[in-house]
C-alpha cells in the first residue's frame, strides 16, 4: 500500500470502481475486471461443489460458474431479490459470475484517495481488501478481486485433488 502511495503518478491517476452492495455494506471492485453486469438468471446447480459456488449460468452460449459473494464472505444470506444481479468478471482468461445484492454505479477516484486497510478484526480476510474509500459519509470496501478469485481457484483445485485421492484410496482398498 505504502509503495503505491509513494508513487505520484499512481496517486493522481484516476481509478474506476464498480460499486455494489452486500447486505448493508458497500463494496467496490476494479472496473477493469468487470466484463458486464446481468440480471439474475436461472442458475443450474452443479453437485459436489463448495456451498458458495452456486452453479453455472448460460451467458449467450458461454457457460460461466457463479459464486455467491455473501456466502463466500460468511455474511448473512437471504433469498435473491429483484435487484440481485450477477457481475461477470474476467479472471485469467476465464469468466466468473459474482452474485451481489445490487449494483450502484461506477466511481472514478484518484488513486491517492484509497486508504490502507486498518488492522481490524473482520470475518473477511484482510488480503481480499485492496483498500477503503470514504465517499461522503459512506465507507466503501474495495476488494482485490484477483485475490478472491485466485483463492477460489486454489481451494477448488485442492478439493478436486482431495476428492481424487480419496477415490483412489478407496479404489485401491
Amino acid at each position: 500500500m505504502k509503495e503505491i502511495l509513494k508513487d505520484q503518478e499512481v496517486a493522481l491517476e484516476q481509478f474506476q470502481y464498480v460499486t455494489f452492495s452486500l447486505n448493508d455494506e458497500v463494496y467496490g471492485i476494479d472496473a477493469l475486471n468487470v466484463q458486464e453486469i446481468i440480471e439474475l438468471t436461472g442458475i443450474t446447480r452443479v453437485p459436489n461443489l463448495p456451498d458458495y459456488m452456486k452453479g453455472v449460468i448460460n451467458l449467450r452460449g458461454t457457460i460461466i460458474p457463479v459464486i455467491d459473494l455473501k456466502t463466500k464472505f460468511n455474511m448473512k444470506t437471504g433469498d435473491y431479490k429483484k435487484h440481485t444481479c450477477i457481475i461477470i468478471t474476467e479472471f485469467r482468461d476465464a469468466l466468473m459470475g459474482l452474485i451481489v445484492d445490487s449494483v450502484f454505479d461506477v466511481l472514478s477516484v484518484p488513486g491517492a484517495s484509497l486508504q490502507p486497510t486498518p488492522e481490524f478484526v473482520t470475518r473477511l480476510r484482510t488480503d481480499f481488501i485492496r483498500g477503503l474509500l470514504r465517499m461522503d459519509d459512506k465507507l466503501i470496501i474495495i476488494l482485490d478481486i484477483n485475490k478472491v478469485l485466485s483463492d477460489e481457484e486454489t481451494t477448488m483445485v485442492q478439493e478436486a485433488l482431495k476428492g481424487e485421492e480419496g477415490g483412489n484410496k478407496e479404489a485401491a482398498a
Partner: protein, 688 residues
C-alpha cells in the same frame, strides 16, 4: 500503449510458435523419410523449405539466435542438396537433434524467456559436417599409357604436383601389370594408381590440369564422402580373409553398450544406469508428446462451403423479413404463415448443414499425429536393440481435433507397449521363424459413426495363462475356466496389473493400460484387445466421430434436468415397488426379468432429496460388462445436444461430463455414466 504492444507481441509469438512447431514436425517427417531414401531430393527440398520458413519468421520477430541457428542447419542442408556431402545416419541424427533443439527453444519461448543454452555442441557438429564438405573429394584413377615415359612425362611428378593443389588422402599403386624381371622393359610404365584426393577446386579445373593426358589415362570421379582414412579393423580383417563377414557382425553384436562397460568396471551401479536409460526414454517420449497446436488449418473448400451456406441463410432471412412485412396489417394471415412455414423448413435445413460443415472444420486427418510416431518408433526400437517398422494406413481418416489431441497419449503408450512387450528381439524372432524385423501396423478407418484406430504388432502376443495366474494370485478370479477371452484381456486394464516379467526402461510397471482405458473412455470410446500367442496383438480403439454433438436422454429428478448420453443407455424400465429389494439396508437391487441389477438413485448421488422413492424410471446402463440401474423420476425425451465445457473456471467433477444449453436457455449437466458408477462403487460396498 505499451501493454497493447505487449499483447500484440504475445499474439505474434503464439502464431510463430505454432507455425514453427508445425514446420519442425514437417522437418522431422522429411528427415525420417530421407533416411530411408537418401537420394530423394524432394525430401531435402521439403526440409529445406521448412527450415527456411523458421529462419525467416524468427528473424522477423527479432530472434536472431534462433534464425542464426536455423541458418546453420540450412547451410548444411544446402550442401546435402548439392551432393557435396553424403546423407548418412549420423547426419540425419545431427539434423534431428538440431530440430529438437529448436523445438525446445521455441517451447521455452512460448513460456516467456528463451536461451540457446546447450547449442554449442550441435553447432560444432554442424560445422564439422560443413568443413568436411568444403573440400571436395575426388577419386583419380590414373592408369597411364605404358609409353608415357617415352613421351617425356614422369608420372611421379604428376602425383607430386597434385600435392600442391590439395591433399592426397590415400594412394594405392597397382603392381599387378608388372611383368617378371626378364620381360620387363625399363622404357615402359606398368603401374597404375588410385588416388583419393581432397581439394577445394572443382572438377573442371582439375581436368584442365591434366589436360596433357588422354581421358583414358586419367579418370576423375567426384567422391561424395570421404572414405575412412583408416579402414575399420573389421574391414581389414575381412579384406585379408582372416575372418568372414558373419564373424564380424557377430562380434559387433556382442559389443557392449557403454552402460554395461561402466557397470562391469564398477564405476556405476546397475540401478543408476537403468535410471539414466529410463530418463533418456522418458525425455524422448515427453518431447514427442507436447506438439499439438491450438489452431486448426482448414481446407479452403470446407470454408467456401460454409460461406455459401451462410450466404443462403442471409437470403432466407431477408425473404422471411419480406413475408413478415407483407403480412403486417393484413387480415389474411394464412398465406404468410404458409410461406413462413416453407422458409422455416429451409432455414432448418441450412442450419443443419451449417452445423455439419462447422463440425467438419474441427476434423483433422489422423496422419498428422500418426506420422510423428515414425520418429518415436525409430528412437524406441533403437534403444531396445529391436528392429521395428511402423506401417501407417488410413492417415486421411478425419477425427475431431479435440479427440485427436486426447488420443495421442494413449497411442504413445500402446506403441511403447508394442515395442517393449510385443516385438521380440531379432534373435528371438528368427528362432521363431519370423522375419527379423517386427512390424507395427497403425491404422485408422471409419465404420458408421465411429472411428477405429488400431495398433497391431506381429510380436509375441499375450499369454492368457499368465494373465489368469496373475489374476488368481491377486484374488480376482475364482473359476478361471469360466472366463471369456474378453474378460481375461480386460484384466490388463485393471490398475496395477502387468504381466511383464521384468521392469524395463520403457513400460511394464503395471501402470499404463488402465490410464489408456480411462483416457479412451473419457472420449466416450471403447478399447478392445485381440491377441494370439506368438502371432501378435491387436488393440482397437473405437471412438465416436465427434464429441461436441451427442444424442442424449433428457431426464429429471425433481425439477433438475440432466442429460444421459444415449450411447450408455441399454433400456428404460418402469419401476415397480415390488421389483426393488434392499440388501443390508442400504444397497438396493432391481429385479429385471430374472436378473438382479444394482441400483443407483440419481437424486441421492447428486444431492437432491428424492421424495418419491417408489415411483420412477430405471435407466439400465452398463459399466465394465456389468449392468446398473440408474433411477430418475422422469424421462423427458431424447434430443441431440451440443456438449460444452465448463471452461477453465471449474474443476473437473467426476461423474459430470460437461454441460449443454437447453431450448429454454437453461444449462443442463451432461452425466458421465462411467464416472458416476465408479464414484458410487468406490463409496459403497457393492459386491463386484
Amino acid at each position: 500503449m505499451e501493454e497493447f504492444a505487449q499483447d500484440e507481441l504475445k499474439k505474434l509469438i503464439t502464431l510463430f510458435t505454432e507455425e514453427a512447431i508445425e514446420k519442425l514436425s514437417e522437418c522431422e517427417e522429411g528427415l525420417l523419410k530421407l533416411e530411408k531414401e537418401p537420394h530423394n531430393k524432394e525430401y531435402i527440398n521439403r526440409i529445406f523449405r521448412a527450415v527456411h520458413t523458421i529462419k525467416g519468421t524468427s528473424a522477423s520477430l527479432g530472434y536472431k539466435d534462433i534464425s542464426d541457428f536455423a541458418h546453420r542447419i540450412e547451410e548444411v542442408l544446402d550442401l546435402l542438396r548439392k551432393d557435396r556431402i553424403r546423407c548418412d545416419k549420423s547426419i540425419i541424427d545431427t539434423f534431428l537433434t538440431s530440430t529438437d533443439f529448436i523445438k525446445k527453444t521455441i517451447q521455452k519461448l512460448s513460456k516467456g524467456s528463451y536461451d540457446l543454452h546447450g547449442s554449442e555442441g550441435i553447432i560444432e557438429e554442424l560445422e564439422n559436417i560443413k568443413k568436411s564438405s568444403a573440400k571436395r573429394l575426388f577419386k583419380i584413377i590414373f592408369s597411364p599409357d605404358p609409353d608415357m615415359l617415352s613421351r617425356g612425362i614422369d608420372p611421379s611428378m604428376i602425383i607430386e604436383d597434385l600435392k600442391s593443389r590439395g591433399r592426397i588422402i590415400n594412394i594405392k599403386a597397382y603392381t599387378d601389370a608388372v611383368p617378371v624381371l626378364s620381360e620387363l622393359n625399363p622404357e615402359k610404365l606398368y603401374l597404375r594408381w588410385d588416388v583419393i584426393f581432397e581439394t577445394e577446386e572443382d572438377i573442371n579445373s582439375l581436368k584442365s590440369y591434366f589436360g596433357g593426358l588422354d581421358e583414358e589415362e586419367i579418370k576423375i570421379i567426384p567422391a561424395a564422402q570421404s572414405e575412412p582414412e583408416v579402414p575399420l579393423i573389421g574391414e581389414v580383417l575381412i579384406e585379408s580373409g582372416t575372418i568372414s563377414e558373419k564373424d564380424l557382425s557377430d562380434a559387433l553384436e556382442n559389443q557392449k553398450k557403454i552402460g554395461d562397460i561402466l557397470i562391469e568396471k564398477g564405476k556405476l551401479s546397475k540401478e543408476a544406469i537403468e535410471k539414466a536409460v529410463h530418463e533418456q526414454t522418458e525425455r524422448r517420449v515427453d518431447s514427442f508428446k507436447q506438439t499439438l497446436t491450438s489452431t486448426v488449418r482448414v481446407d479452403l473448400r470446407k470454408l467456401d462451403r460454409l460461406l455459401n451456406l451462410v450466404g443462403e441463410m442471409v437470403i432466407i432471412h431477408s425473404m422471411l423479413e419480406r413475408v413478415i412485412n407483407e403480412g403486417n396489417g393484413k387480415t389474411t394471415i394464412d398465406y404468410s404463415s404458409f410461406s413462413i412455414q416453407v422458409l422455416f423448413n429451409q432455414l432448418q435445413r441450412i442450419g443443419r448443414q451449417i452445423q455439419e460443415s462447422t463440425m467438419s472444420l474441427r476434423m483433422l486427418p489422423v496422419g498428422e499425429v500418426f506420422h510423428r510416431f515414425m520418429r518415436l518408433v525409430r528412437e524406441l526400437s533403437q534403444a531396445q536393440n529391436k528392429k521395428v517398422e511402423l506401417i501407417i494406413s488410413g492417415e486421411d481418416t478425419e477425427l475431431d481435433k479435440g479427440v485427436l489431441e486426447k488420443i495421442t497419449d494413449p497411442l504413445v503408450h500402446l506403441i511403447r507397449n508394442a515395442i517393449d512387450h510385443g516385438i521380440e528381439t531379432p534373435e528371438e524372432r528368427l528362432s521363431k521363424g519370423k522375419p527379423e524385423k517386427g512390424v507395427i501396423n497403425l491404422s485408422a478407418y471409419q465404420i458408421g459413426d465411429s472411428i477405429y484406430i488400431e495398433v497391431d504388432d506381429d510380436g509375441r502376443g499375450i499369454d492368457k495363462q499368465k494373465i489368469i495366474e496373475k489374476a488368481s494370485s491377486m484374488g480376482l478370479v475364482k473359476s478361471p475356466e469360466e472366463l471369456t477371452e474378453e474378460q481375461i484381456y480386460n484384466f490388463i486394464f485393471l490398475p496395477g496389473f502387468s504381466t511383464a516379467e521384468k521392469i524395463t526402461d520403457l513400460s511394464g510397471r503395471g501402470v499404463g493400460m488402465d490410464v489408456v482405458k480411462k483416457n479412451v473412455e473419457s472420449l466416450n470410446g471403447r478399447i478392445y484387445i485381440r491377441a494370439k500367442k506368438d502371432t501378435g496383438t491387436t488393440i482397437t480403439i473405437k471412438l465416436p466421430l465427434t464429441l461436441a454433438i451427442i444424442d442424449g436422454l433428457t431426464v429429471a429428478v425433481k425439477d433438475e434436468v440432466y442429460i444421459i448420453p444415449l450411447q450408455a443407455v441399454l433400456e428404460l424400465i418402469n419401476i415397480n415397488r415390488t421389483d426393488l429389494n434392499t440388501l443390508n439396508e442400504n444397497t438396493e437391487i432391481l429385479h429385471v426379468r430374472g436378473e438382479d441389477i444394482p441400483v443407483i438413485r440419481l437424486g441421492e448421488i447428486l444431492g437432491i432429496p428424492d421424495e418419491e422413492k417408489d415411483r420412477g424410471i430405471g435407466i439400465i446402463t452398463y459399466h465394465e460388462g456389468k449392468k446398473f440401474a440408474i433411477i430418475v423420476q422422469r424421462v423427458i425425451g431424447q434430443q441431440q445436444i451440443v456438449v460444452k465445457n465448463f471452461g477453465g473456471a471449474l474443476p473437473r467433477i467426476k461423474g459430470i461430463g460437461g454441460c449443454t444449453i437447453l431450448g429454454d436457455g437453461r444449462v443442463a449437466l451432461v452425466l458421465d455414466m462411467a464416472g458416476l458408477i465408479e464414484n458410487q462403487m468406490a463409496g459403497s460396498a457393492v459386491i463386484t
